[in-house]
C-alpha cells in the first residue's frame, strides 16, 4: 500500500515537472522566435520609409532596443563577433515578467494590449471547437459501433471507406464546398461571419468532419477489441441481449481509449480551427493569428496567439490524462 502511494506521488511529481518543462519551452520558443525574423522587425512593421526617429520610438516602446537574451554575440567595430553578457535586464526576462502578470505586450500595429485582443477572440474559438467535437461524437460513435459490430461485412467496409475519405478530404476543401452548396446555391446559410447562431453550423461541420473520421476508426477498433474479451462471452452466456452487451458493456469499456484520443486530438482541432476560421471568417484566435498577426507582421500578436493556443492544448492534454486515469483504474499505478 505504501509503495502504491509512493508511485502515485512520484508519478504526479513527474507529470508536474514535465508540464512545467513543456510550458517553459513553449514560452522560450515563442520569445526567441522573434529573433528569427529576417532583418529588423521594426523595418518589417513600419516599412523602409519611416524616419530614424520613428524607428527609435518604436523599438523603445516595444523593448526591441534591449538585448534579446542573457548574452549575445554582437559584432564589434572590426566586424569580429565576441561574447557579451547582458545580465537580467533583457527581452527574455521582460517577456517572462509580463506573462506572470498576464501581460503579453502591446500589439505592434494597434498598440492595444495583446491579452485583450486574445480574450476578445478566445470564446469564439472554444465555441467552435466544442461544437465540432459534438458533431464528431454524434457522427462517430454510432458509425464506429455499427462498423465494429458488423466487422468484415459490407456495412463495415462502407463505414471504413467513408471514414478514410473523411480523413483525406482536408477542411479547406470541405469548407468551401459547403459554402458553395449552402450559401451560394441555396442561400440557407451565411458564407462567413459570426452574427447568428446558424453561422456556427458550417464551421463546426467542417472542423468536425475530419475529426469524426478519425474517431470512427478509433471507436471501431476499440469495439472490435472489446468484443474479443472474456466478459463479453460471459455476458452473452448469461443470456443478455446483444444490444445490452454492446451498449452497456462493450461501449462503456471501449470508450476509454476514445476519450484519450478525443483529448489528444484537441490539438488537431485547435490547429484545424485556424484553417476553419480563415475559411468562414470566424473571429477566433486562428483568424487573429493568421490575419492580424502573420498577415500584418504583428509579431507580438503572433507570439500571444501561439502561446495561448499551445497552453490551451497542454492543459487539455493534462485534463484528458486525469480523466483517463479516473476511468480506468488499471493504469493509475503503472
Amino acid at each position: 500500500m505504501r509503495s502504491n502511494l509512493k508511485y502515485k506521488v512520484l508519478g504526479g511529481l513527474r507529470r508536474v515537472a514535465i508540464l512545467l518543462l513543456v510550458a517553459w519551452t513553449v514560452v522560450s520558443l515563442v520569445t526567441l522566435l522573434i529573433e528569427l525574423v529576417p532583418g529588423d522587425p521594426a523595418v518589417a512593421v513600419l516599412g523602409e520609409q519611416a524616419t530614424p526617429e520613428q524607428f527609435q520610438q518604436f523599438r523603445q516602446k516595444h523593448g526591441l532596443d534591449r538585448p534579446p537574451f542573457f548574452f549575445s554575440f554582437p559584432r564589434d567595430a572590426s566586424g569580429e563577433r565576441h561574447f557579451e553578457w547582458h545580465g537580467r535586464d533583457n527581452r527574455y526576462t521582460d517577456y517572462w515578467r509580463g506573462i506572470v502578470k498576464g501581460d503579453m505586450g502591446l500589439s505592434f500595429r494597434t498598440d492595444k494590449p495583446v491579452i485583450d485582443l486574445i480574450l476578445e477572440r478566445y470564446p469564439a474559438t472554444i465555441e467552435l471547437a466544442i461544437a465540432a467535437l459534438l458533431v464528431a461524437v454524434v457522427i462517430a460513435i454510432p458509425l464506429g459501433v455499427v462498423a465494429g459490430t458488423h466487422r468484415g461485412t459490407w456495412i463495415d467496409n462502407v463505414a471504413s471507406v467513408v471514414a478514410l475519405i473523411g480523413i483525406s478530404l482536408p477542411s479547406f476543401v470541405i469548407g468551401p464546398m459547403l459554402v458553395y452548396v449552402f450559401a451560394v446555391k441555396v442561400h440557407w446559410l451565411a458564407p462567413s461571419g459570426r452574427f447568428h447562431w446558424s453561422d456556427l453550423i458550417l464551421p463546426s461541420l467542417t472542423l468536425g468532419a475530419a475529426f469524426s473520421a478519425i474517431l470512427t476508426r478509433m471507436v471501431r477498433s476499440s469495439v472490435i477489441e472489446e468484443l474479443g474479451e472474456d466478459y463479453v462471452r460471459t455476458a452473452r452466456a448469461k443470456g443478455l441481449s446483444e444490444n445490452v452487451v454492446i451498449y452497456k458493456h462493450v461501449l462503456k469499456n471501449g470508450l476509454i481509449p476514445v476519450v484519450t484520443i478525443l483529448g489528444l486530438q484537441l490539438g488537431v482541432l485547435l490547429a484545424g480551427a485556424i484553417i476553419t476560421e480563415k475559411i468562414f471568417g470566424w473571429p477566433g484566435l486562428g483568424l487573429l493569428l493568421v490575419e492580424d498577426g502573420i498577415g500584418k507582421r504583428d509579431y507580438r500578436v503572433v507570439q500571444g496567439c501561439v502561446l495561448v493556443i499551445s497552453m490551451t492544448y497542454i492543459i487539455a492534454n493534462t485534463l484528458t490524462d486525469m480523466v483517463y486515469r479516473f476511468l480506468d483504474p488499471r493504469i493509475r499505478v503503472s
Binding site: L21, L33, L36, V179, L270, I274, L289, V290, Y313
Partner: protein, 271 residues
C-alpha cells in the same frame, strides 16, 4: 493483397508518373493569364476549365503534383533519417541521451500541435518552399524517432542480439545489421502515412498563404484562389479539381499505409 491497398498503389503510381511527365501532359502554360477566357467550364480545350484569371486548371493541377510530391518526399526522407538515427541511439544507449530525447523532446513535441509549430516558424522565418520543408521536417522527425526508439528497446533484448554480442560484434554492427533491419517494418507504415500528412500540411500552409507563394500551382494556393464567393458562383470547378487532387493523393497514401499496417499486424487482419 487488400483491394484498397492496390487502389492506393495505383493512385500513387499515377501521381508519380504525372509529376515526372508534367511538362508533356500539361496542355497550357501554367502561368499564362487571359482575362477574356476566365471562368470557362471544362471543355476539350480546357479539360478542367479555367480560373478567375483565365489560367488553364488542368495544367495547373498537373504541375501541382510536382510540388506536393517534392515536399512529401523530401520531408519524409529527411524526417525518417533524422528520426531513425536519434530514436535508435536513444533506444540503444539509454542513459542521459534517452532521457533528453524521450523524456524532454518527445514530451515537448507531443505538447505542441504540429501545424501550429509549422505556422509559427513560417510566420517568423518568412514563406517559401524551402522554409516550408524545413518547418515540416522539424515537426516531422519526432514521430519516427518515437517509433524506432520503441522498436529498438524491444528488439535489443532478443536472443539473436545477445548471440551477436557474444560473437564479439560491436555496438555499431549490432545496431545497423541486427537491430535496425528488425525494427523498420512499422517505419514503412509511418512513412506512408507521413507522405499523406506532408502533402496535407503543404496544402494547408499554402492555403493559409504561409507555404508556396501564389503564382505557383500549389493545390493549396489554387483552392485559396477559388474560394471567394464570385469565383465559387461562376466557377465551382476551380475548387473541385484541385480539391479532388489533394483528396486522392492523401487517400492513396492512407490506403497504402493502412494496408501495410494490417499486413504487418496480424491482430488487425480480418479473419
Amino acid at each position: 493483397m487488400n483491394r484498397l491497398t492496390l487502389i492506393g498503389i495505383v493512385i500513387v503510381l499515377i501521381l508519380v508518373l504525372v509529376a515526372i511527365f508534367a511538362p508533356w501532359i500539361a496542355t497550357h502554360d501554367v502561368g499564362a493569364t487571359n482575362l477574356s477566357i476566365r471562368y470557362l467550364p471544362p471543355s476539350s480545350e480546357h479539360l478542367f476549365g479555367t480560373d478567375s484569371t483565365g489560367r488553364d486548371l488542368f495544367s495547373r493541377v498537373i504541375f501541382g503534383a510536382r510540388i506536393s510530391l517534392e515536399v512529401g518526399i523530401v520531408v519524409v526522407a529527411v524526417s525518417t533519417v533524422i528520426g531513425t538515427l536519434l530514436g535508435a541511439l536513444a533506444g540503444y544507449y539509454g542513459g542521459w541521451l534517452d532521457r533528453l530525447i524521450s523524456g524532454y523532446v518527445f514530451n515537448v513535441f507531443l505538447a505542441f500541435p504540429g501545424l501550429l509549430l509549422a505556422i509559427a516558424m513560417v510566420a517568423f522565418l518568412g514563406t517559401g518552399l524551402n522554409k516550408l520543408i524545413l518547418a515540416l521536417c522539424i515537426i516531422g522527425w519526432v514521430g519516427y524517432a518515437r517509433l524506432i526508439r520503441g522498436q529498438v528497446l524491444k528488439v535489443r533484448e532478443y536472443d539473436f542480439v545477445q548471440a551477436a554480442r557474444a560473437l564479439g560484434a560491436g555496438d555499431f554492427r549490432i545496431l545497423l545489421f541486427h537491430i535496425l533491419p528488425n525494427s523498420v517494418q512499422p517505419l514503412i507504415v509511418q512513412a506512408s502515412l507521413g507522405m499523406a500528412g506532408a502533402v496535407l500540411a503543404e496544402a494547408s500552409l499554402s492555403f493559409l498563404g504561409l507555404g508556396v507563394p501564389p503564382p505557383s500551382p500549389s493545390w493549396g494556393v489554387m483552392i485559396e484562389e477559388a474560394r471567394d464567393l464570385s469565383t465559387l458562383q461562376s466557377a465551382p470547378h476551380a475548387l473541385i479539381f484541385p480539391g479532388m487532387a489533394i483528396a486522392l493523393t492523401v487517400l492513396g497514401f492512407n490506403f497504402i499505409g493502412d494496408g501495410l499496417r494490417e499486413y504487418l499486424d496480424p491482430r488487425q487482419r480480418a479473419r
